[in-house]
């Protein structure tokens, strides 16, 4: 790997940056003083957890039993409000342990 920077990768990177800034800027420019509420707000509020769940679905539900059980253990740790790095350690650790046990 002699390259310092993958120049072609700047296209998606700058595109993602523009898309992200557009979400932040449009809120300022289009919505001065307007309060989003009701059904539209409920839908927008649901976006982050919904998209995140879709991202992890193949890993936690469609890979194997060890991953699914580890996901439940991680969720329990998260609901108990353990810090992020602790819940991640529990998740990664339990996949290793469960696989070592032959689950």
């Amino acid at each position: 790997m002699s390259e310092l920077l993958h120049w072609p990768w700047l296209i998606p990177i700058l595109g993602m940056g523009a898309a992200t800034y557009a979400t932040r800027l449009s809120g300022l420019l289009l919505m001065r003083g307007v309060v989003v509420k009701g059904r539209a707000k409920a839908a927008l509020d649901a976006l982050p957890p919904s998209v995140l769940m879709a991202v992890i679905t193949p890993t936690v539900l469609m890979t194997g039993r060890a991953e699914s059980i580890a996901a439940v253990l991680t969720a329990i740790a998260a609901i108990l409000r353990l810090p992020l790095l602790a819940t991640m350690a529990i998740g990664i650790g339990s996949v290793w342990v469960l696989k070592a046990l032959g689950v």
Binding site: G15, Y21, V35, R39, A43, L52
Partner: protein
């Protein structure tokens, strides 16, 4: 609170290095995109040939929540010159937003306060992303950690968004549609399809007579 970004940024950098990002690549993405959740998702999707349009579209959808945050903040920064306000939005992350909103309960936000909170997080985010990529490069295979590490992190963030059984219905619908799409639709469209299914359920289940303050249900996630 500025330290909260350090482990996340380094973690993201190591995962990005696992997908071939050089420290400069990682720096560029954290500099220009500066949105944690969407950067983690992008690294997960990062495979040649790059699905450029899908990457951009997914970042837009994941970050749509910033639209609400910017709209809300815009009411508190009316004392800031108009030409400067768009620049302030560039560093509007979930954390900066949450702290600024709390402050705004006591009165209008000053330019100094907003910048004091929001601006330092940006260089912290992009410089520690690059450091994480250096670490990831020198340790080689962090993919083993990356695979379930990302899932564990997202589970934790989802738990932070939990607002009762309706959230359960949202993520249940998302998982169901994402699983079907993963089986039957080629590529990474399951992320958008599952995400939109959850949003549709949230809209369907919404009950209008709920009484709530204008801001009290906005929540915090990653940067």
């Amino acid at each position: 609170m500025f330290l909260a970004y350090v482990p996340l940024a380094m973690l993201w950098g190591t995962m990005a290095a696992g997908k071939g990002f050089t420290p400069l690549d990682a720096l560029a993405m954290s500099f220009f995109v500066y949105a944690g959740a969407s950067q983690f998702i992008a690294v997960d999707m990062w495979r040649e040939p790059l699905p450029v349009l899908l990457l951009i579209l997914t970042a837009f959808i994941v970050n749509l929540r910033h639209f609400l945050m910017a709209a809300s903040i815009s009411r508190h920064i009316t004392s800031v010159p108009k030409w400067l306000q768009p620049l302030l939005m560039y560093v509007l992350t979930d954390e900066a937003w949450a702290i600024a909103e709390r402050r705004a309960l006591d009165g209008p936000l000053s330019l100094g306060y907003y910048l004091g909170v929001a601006a330092p997080l940006w260089p912290i985010w992009f410089s520690f992303s690059a450091i994480g990529a250096v670490i990831g490069q020198s340790f080689g295979n962090v993919a083993a950690l990356g695979d379930f590490g990302l899932a564990a992190m997202f589970i934790t963030i989802i738990a932070g968004f939990w607002k009762g059984p309706r959230t359960g219905a949202v993520i249940g619908a998302s998982a169901f549609v994402a699983a079907l799409a993963h089986l039957y639709v080629p590529g990474r469209w399951y992320i958008l399809l599952g995400g939109l299914a959850g949003v549709a359920v949230a809209a369907l289940l919404h009950v209008e007579e709920e009484v709530q303050g204008p801001e009290d249900t906005m929540e915090r996630g990653t940067p």
